[in-house]
């Protein structure tokens, strides 16, 4: 046998041995690391510090949403505290309140600042007309870094849903649900997607009912329970039952919403209207 053939055979057998060893060791190595396949490079590199970066990228998405008009670290107390404005409808109360809060640019203190304003974005605008998609890369990154941050999923799912990319939005919400199985916020968003985009009332009802159960398991004992979410879930369930003809159930849900709503008046009116309808039947 020639030396060249001998070398080739040795190389081949070594490669085969390596491959066999790799197939044996890979499952064990996964178990040793206890991180499983889901551990991304970022998680391994940054550890728990990744949450800080996740917050930064989430804020970056908000900066994009405002097209660069955003308070600096020196105007931090005027930065938006919640994410409602990112999914709020135009002219809604949340939107108006946000508009007032974002008026953070004071009168220029000197001529340098006055001139410098020409090189700054000074108009408060929100992304619209499909441009909302521009916030998605940062939200995706934020979710990668901190899968337990629920806002990321609910905000990120809004834009693709709006642009007709429903399956992508559903996939992202399901990703969020896998990372946060008890999240009533993600379940509520998922229900909205089934109801508004797929027009699948049965799945929407199942998901919203589960969201309500999760809320009732987690929130009542809290000092400041998330009443806004409860009202949203209950009102949406009521609408669903009303359109299905289950007026009694719709009234039960509206009663629940009324008990916890900050503006119970309109809900009371709706309850009375439904009661009249039910009486006529």
């Amino acid at each position: 046998m020639s030396t060249r053939r001998q070398s080739a055979l040795i190389l081949l057998s070594l490669a085969a041995a390596c491959f066999a060893l790799a197939t044996t060791l890979q499952p064990r190595a996964t178990a040793w690391s206890s991180r499983g396949d889901s551990a991304s490079i970022l998680k391994v590199l940054l550890g728990d510090g990744r949450r800080l970066f996740a917050d930064y990228f989430f804020e970056k998405a908000d900066v994009y949403f405002h097209s660069g008009y955003y308070p600096s670290i020196f105007d931090r107390n005027q930065a938006p505290k919640d994410t409602r404005h990112m999914t709020a409808e135009e002219d809604s109360p949340a939107e108006k309140e946000h508009e007032e809060k974002m008026n953070f640019l004071a009168t220029p203190r000197d001529w340098l600042e006055r001139f410098g304003r020409h090189f700054l974005i000074t108009e408060h605008t929100h992304l619209s007309g499909g441009n909302e998609r521009e916030i998605l890369p940062w939200l995706r990154l934020s979710a990668e870094l901190d899968p337990q941050r629920i806002d990321t999923y609910t905000v990120a799912a809004y834009s693709p849903r709006d642009m007709g990319k429903v399956s992508e939005a559903e996939q992202f919400l399901r990703e969020g649900l896998r990372a946060n199985p008890g999240s009533y916020e993600i379940l509520f968003e998922l229900g909205r997607l089934y109801q508004q985009n797929y027009h699948d009332a049965r799945r929407a009802r199942n998901v919203w009912e589960l969201a309500l159960r999760r809320w009732q398991e987690q929130q009542p004992g809290k000092k400041e329970p998330d009443l806004l979410a409860l009202t949203d879930i209950a009102v949406n369930l009521a609408r669903l039952e009303e359109s299905a003809g289950n007026l009694e159930r719709a009234i039960v849900y509206l009663e629940l919403a009324r008990q916890h709503s900050l503006q119970p008046g309109p809900l009371q009116q709706q309850i009375e209207e439904l009661k009249r309808k039910a009486g006529r039947k």
């Binding site: 660069g68 203190r109 340098l112 020409h118 090189f119 974005i121 998609r133 998605l136």
Partner: protein, 259 residues
């Protein structure tokens, strides 16, 4: 003037002989292409994150090129003793400084043109539109800003002993101004005297490099900065560059050239 131009040509030749620019450009291109290949919700129209990353890399690369190229000019001439035959031509010390400044500034301009062409290609290929005026304005303001930085480094190269310390200090100062310059007056008002006056004085003395950073206008597709304001900002930069070059000349004309 011919002497100054001849000196500047040597600096430009140095830029394309050295590997700094090529490495930075390839790095920018590779990072950009890797990011562009990411699949985000199956949406190929998402472009702003890419524009932001490319512009950030362009800013970092341009600063690195400007500072490192300028910082070694005069020390290298002194170390290699080529400054003596140069001054014996006869070339005055003022011409040496002006030649070095012009060379570094033009070299940065050439690098910026290539970088912005790449940026235009990347953003245009995704957006299907070319905001040529926006690119030109962004490039011009950045180039003008680099003029101040180069003058500052030249002053550093006749003040500090080593190019490395000069480059490091200038880099910190420039990044500091870019990040905090705009807020110094606000920070000053929150302090008690005499710190308030001191910080306010610094605020008025430093060149406001942050004005020239109009990346946000390009990223968020905002309307352009007014051309009159651009012209005023250019004048402001020219005054600072002239002041710094004059200070460099004052220090350099009395400096012993032997190491």
């Amino acid at each position: 003037m011919n002497t100054v131009i001849a000196l500047s040509q040597v600096v430009i030749k140095e830029l394309y002989r050295r590997k700094d620019f090529y490495v930075l450009f390839v790095l920018t291109a590779v990072i950009t292409l890797a990011l562009a290949s990411a699949n985000l919700f199956n949406d190929t129209k998402i472009v702003r994150y890419l524009k932001e990353v490319v512009l950030l890399l362009i800013w970092i690369s341009a600063l690195v090129i400007a500072i490192t190229t300028t910082a070694r000019q005069i020390p290298a001439e002194r170390e290699n003793r080529t400054i003596f035959p140069l001054l014996a031509k006869p070339v005055t010390r003022g011409q040496v400084i002006l030649g070095k400044f012009l060379g570094c500034w033009l070299a940065c301009g050439i690098a910026l043109v290539i970088f912005y062409l790449f940026f235009g290609l990347v953003s245009g290929s995704r957006e299907r539109s070319w905001d040529v005026l926006g690119y030109v304005q962004g490039l011009w303001l950045q180039w003008v800003m680099l003029g101040i930085v180069i003058s500052l480094v030249l002053l550093g190269s006749v003040t500090f002993t080593a190019p490395s310390s000069n480059a490091t200090i200038t880099f910190i100062v420039v990044v500091g101004i870019l990040l905090l310059g705009r807020h110094l007056n606000q920070a000053a008002l929150q302090q008690v005297e005499p710190l308030r006056t001191l910080i306010y004085t610094i605020y008025f003395l430093i060149p406001h490099l942050e004005w020239y950073d109009v990346r946000d206008f390009l990223i968020y597709d905002h309307r352009l900065v007014g051309w009159a304001n651009c012209a005023l900002a250019t004048l402001y930069a020219a005054l600072y560059a002239a002041l710094l070059l004059f200070a460099t000349w004052v220090v350099f004309r009395r400096k012993a050239l032997n190491l």
